[in-house]
Symmetry: C2
């Protein structure tokens, strides 16, 4: 079982550790210190060794930062974690909600002129620190500090991860390492960059066709890398022990050797101010090496999946769809038991779902902690069930299940919201609007060159007309056996990145009523060229989405009369595809159930 239901944070240890940190800060003549939930690779998950924020405060969320001064301490989290932070963190850390509250304002209100704010140059990006310095002004110093004072007092800090690295099949990647490097170097040459310094594990794994096992949920290897434009030579900086099972085909130096390597380069060196550790730029500037600030050169090529990656992902989604069908069939049985008075809880749901995925025989990991929110828990957008919060399914409530898997041939992410017993009219009305938005995007065609922000309204128009909306983006990028949250493509009013063929995104509108219910319907889609329809403008290159996820949508929650004929046609066609593609992959009784729940509306 990958998912754990324990609350890993040690809430009560917080106050004592805070005192120790203040002592260490005093010794280092620091008036404040920043403890972010981050490692040197700025990913969504960190290794145990890098869980400094959790160790210090008890906070287990995936984003946040503690800020400590001699007298005060605060923990900054976003809206998702407003409730959770109070439950997990001792009150000596005053909770602050971003973006409303700003670290800079909090510090400025507590520090005098000449104060020194320390930070670990490996845990923050250049953008983070530049922004903080701008807002604090010249009077307050923001100074890099190594080693990290937390590490000095964290006596039983775990060792660095040494997960084995494996080769990623070229048949799935659709391009050799040499082809990828050549493409990157051609682009860097055109921009006059002599080297690129990489720190994002997804980029390095994609570039070299390797995968790792250093952190949960995302099969990447913690490493840095240097690419030399002229020769295409790549040097890896990582623990050699990780390569015990395979030869990466490029030189591997110890991870800490990146420091000296950077200082000896002759630039310009391409560095990403939004993802690379502050230490990279610092090092290059100290050594007088020219820096070319530009995005990680692998990010866009990685986002444009090859035909082979899309084909592999299709297979992964069919496998995952079979597991989802078995799960939803199991859930129908569980619902009957609940209505008969049995107790079935969120943890039972998570356990069953992971079990069906495990039985595919291909499950490497779940792609994130399964969200199973029953009733009011469904309205907590990033809810993760623990033994403490576990809640029983109940009649006339909704259950929201958002989950995904890591298979070698693809990463999945799918959300279904199902009714337990007969749903209420309000739930049906809201679910139908969310479905209309999800269908509008699924059916969308658009002229090449548009960005996610140009399509976002299509997913919201039905909710908007009812005076409703959801406070999250409509879709995020997804990798292939990499991170389930991948940039730069997004479907969001904030995203100006043009959508390009091969990009994989989620299509997940939702609706949330606090204290009552949550609704989200999510499929993954791939951007594809649209065949020109008869009568279409001859010279207009149009794009469309191919839906990758196949699982039934709870028809009991659909107000059929509220759908247009075209929307109904889309849903019936989708359900027919679910039955045709998934039916043959599941046991007979599941297939029979699937035929029934996917029949035309």
């Amino acid at each position: 079982m990958f998912q754990s239901f324990e609350t890993a944070g040690e809430r009560d240890a917080g106050p004592g550790r805070l005192m120790q940190l203040r002592a260490a800060m005093a010794a280092a003549r620091l008036d404040a210190f920043l403890v972010p939930r981050a490692d040197a690779h700025q990913g969504e998950y960190v290794a145990e060794r890098d869980a400094r924020l959790r160790w210090l405060t008890g906070f287990t969320g995936s984003a946040g930062m503690a800020v400590v001064t001699a007298q005060a301490a605060a923990i900054f989290v976003d809206g998702r974690y407003g409730v959770q932070v109070r439950a997990e963190v001792a009150p000596c850390f005053e909770p602050q909600q971003v973006p409303g509250r700003k670290v800079s304002d909090w510090l400025a209100g507590r520090l005098g002129q000449g104060a020194r704010v320390g930070f670990d140059p490996w845990l923050h990006t250049r953008s983070d620190i530049d922004g903080l310095r701008d807002r604090l002004g010249a009077g307050i110093g923001v100074v890099p500090v190594t080693p990290n004072p937390v590490d000095g007092i964290w006596t039983d800090r775990p060792a660095p991860p040494r997960g084995p690295v494996r080769a990623f099949p070229e048949a799935i990647a659709g391009a050799t390492r040499a082809e990828k490097i050549a493409g990157i170097c051609a682009a860097m040459k055109a921009e006059g960059q002599a080297f690129a310094a990489l720190s994002v594990p997804d980029s390095i794994c994609w570039l070299l066709n390797i995968r790792g096992a250093d952190i949960p949920r995302t099969p990447v290897v913690h490493a840095f890398a240097l690419i030399e434009t002229a020769t295409g030579a790549v040097t890896l900086f990582a623990d050699r022990a990780k390569f015990r099972d395979m030869d990466p085909g490029v030189p591997v130096l110890p991870q800490e050797a990146i420091v000296q390597a950077l200082s000896q380069l002759s630039g310009p060196v391409r560095v990403d101010r939004d993802t690379a550790p502050f230490a990279f730029g610092d090092m290059l500037e100290e050594s007088g090496v020219e820096i070319a600030w530009a995005p990680d050169p692998c990010i866009l090529p990685k986002a444009r999946k090859t035909g082979a990656e899309i084909a592999a992902t299709r297979a992964a989604h069919l496998r995952d769809g079979a597991a989802m069908a078995r799960f939803l069939h199991w859930l129908a049985g569980a619902e009957a038991r609940v209505l008969a008075g049995d107790r079935v809880t969120e943890i039972d749901v998570v356990t069953a779902l992971e079990g069906f995925r495990h039985e595919t025989g291909a499950l490497q990991d779940i792609s994130f902690e399964t969200i199973a929110g029953s009733g009011p828990h469904g309205a907590i957008v990033h809810y993760r069930v623990t033994r403490r919060t576990d809640r029983a399914l109940a009649a006339r409530e909704l259950l929201l299940v958002d989950s995904g898997a890591q298979y070698e041939d693809g990463t999945t992410d799918i959300t279904r919201t199902v009714a337990i017993g007969a749903p209420g009219a309000e739930e049906i009305a809201c679910f139908t609007r969310v479905l209309q938005g999800m269908i509008a995007l699924s059916r969308a065609r658009w002229p090449e060159g548009l960005a996610g922000r140009d399509l976002d309204a299509l997913a919201r128009a039905a909710l908007w007309r009812a005076g409703q909306d959801y406070d999250h983006g409509t879709g995020h990028g997804v990798g292939v056996n990499l991170s389930v949250h991948e940039g730069p493509q997004r479907i969001s009013r904030q995203s100006a990145t043009p959508l390009e063929p091969g990009m994989i995104l989620s299509n997940e509108p939702g609706y949330y009523r606090e204290g009552a219910f949550g609704i989200r319907i999510e499929n993954l889609v791939a951007v594809a060229r649209a065949a020109p329809p008869p009568g279409g403008d001859p010279d207009r290159e149009m794009l469309e989405f191919e839906t990758l996820s196949f699982a039934p949508i709870d028809r009991r929650l659909i107000d059929t009369d509220a759908l247009c004929a075209s929307e109904r046609r889309w849903l019936d066609g989708y359900h027919a595809a679910v039955a045709a593609r998934i039916g043959p992959l599941v046991p007979a009784e599941v297939a029979a159930w699937l035929r029934d729940v996917t029949r035309p509306l």
Copy 2:
């Protein structure tokens, strides 16, 4: 009759005038000179005296620029005018289409280092010249030249306009001059600006509650103005003779006195780099007066119409709707005559429509040249019929009529596309998609704070799904008895300006098939607060559009089966409102016809 069907340009005089201009350029030691279609106020229409581009080249379009060197000459126009420029301009001016072709590239290819490019500092903005200088580089000088060499050779150049200025009723404006000035000064004070220099006539007329008659189609007075933040004192710079019928209540100095006045200010002086003449900034910099580059302070307050302005505009649209109903009823008769073999032309259509508007007794002017495009002419987005191009209506063709009026209580702009005889299936399919987009925007609700770019996709989704689109924005801002094209609000992927209550915009999706037909359906709408629907999110401020235009939409062009029930409901409701509001304002036989064409689908 306001509209003229003559082609005012003197094509054949172009070559001789070009020779004269080159002589004048040589005398002024200029290697190149720019002749834009612009005056000092950067409006859409210019006075006869300012029609330098038309005088030199014969080009009558509303945007363009001639660029002349000793050996070569070019005229830069946008895609709208590609055909027209060839018909109107002699070949000694080589046509160039922007944005593909750039003035800077054309000049750089023909001028050597040290060359001098002259421009009239009153006819270009700071943004224009800064952009040109950036692209040409330091090697080529871009130098202001006064007086304008064209004026020296244009011996029979008309006198400046002296249209009488009239007071604009406060009952319509909804705010006194003093209230408006106080609001502007409060904003300028907050930004630390001591003065603002205004050059846009709409802004000055709005601020002082006056209207003028200096140019066609837009009832503004050509003037400059200075606002002093501390005192709220406004000084006008304009020909005093224009105020023979009313006292503007503020000092009026000669227009050319602005030069000395600017040089004597103590700044910071707020100047709009996108609309103010280059001469303003030049003057202030020469005099060492600090400049605060910022948008014209009147533009946003003017765009947020008062309740009184909206109420007045509603009345103007009902009056205009009655004229439109009489016109469309006349057109139905004309169609019968055409099908019986009579000849009815585009000019007949324009003449009839202006006649019905004239008969309201309230028509001050048309708000732009009526576009009446029959058959393939409908696909020319900014077509204006002349005696040369006049075309007869014909069976199985579409007729596109885009027109508007200036009434004291409001400015209108409406487009209807009607079938002559039974329309073809392709025309019906395309018209229905355009209608779906127009309905989607009309019905839209959205959370406060969104911009036009966040809604634009709603108007295009139906066309996109068919592989079709239109290459113009979906909507432009509209004034109240001011310009029919007003910023900053727009419905366009380019517009990040939040839509605010009171803003008036057009809602005009279209579809164009070159050489065959054009379709556009346009209503004006006003942004309004939406009453929270039952079940709507309690704390979400939602906005919606109030439709202002009332005229029937040709039901023979609608594929009813392709519409959703909700779209049909909207159209039936709209048509019922047309019959109820316009019916009582038109003669009995028109009302009877109106009842018939607005019956439920």
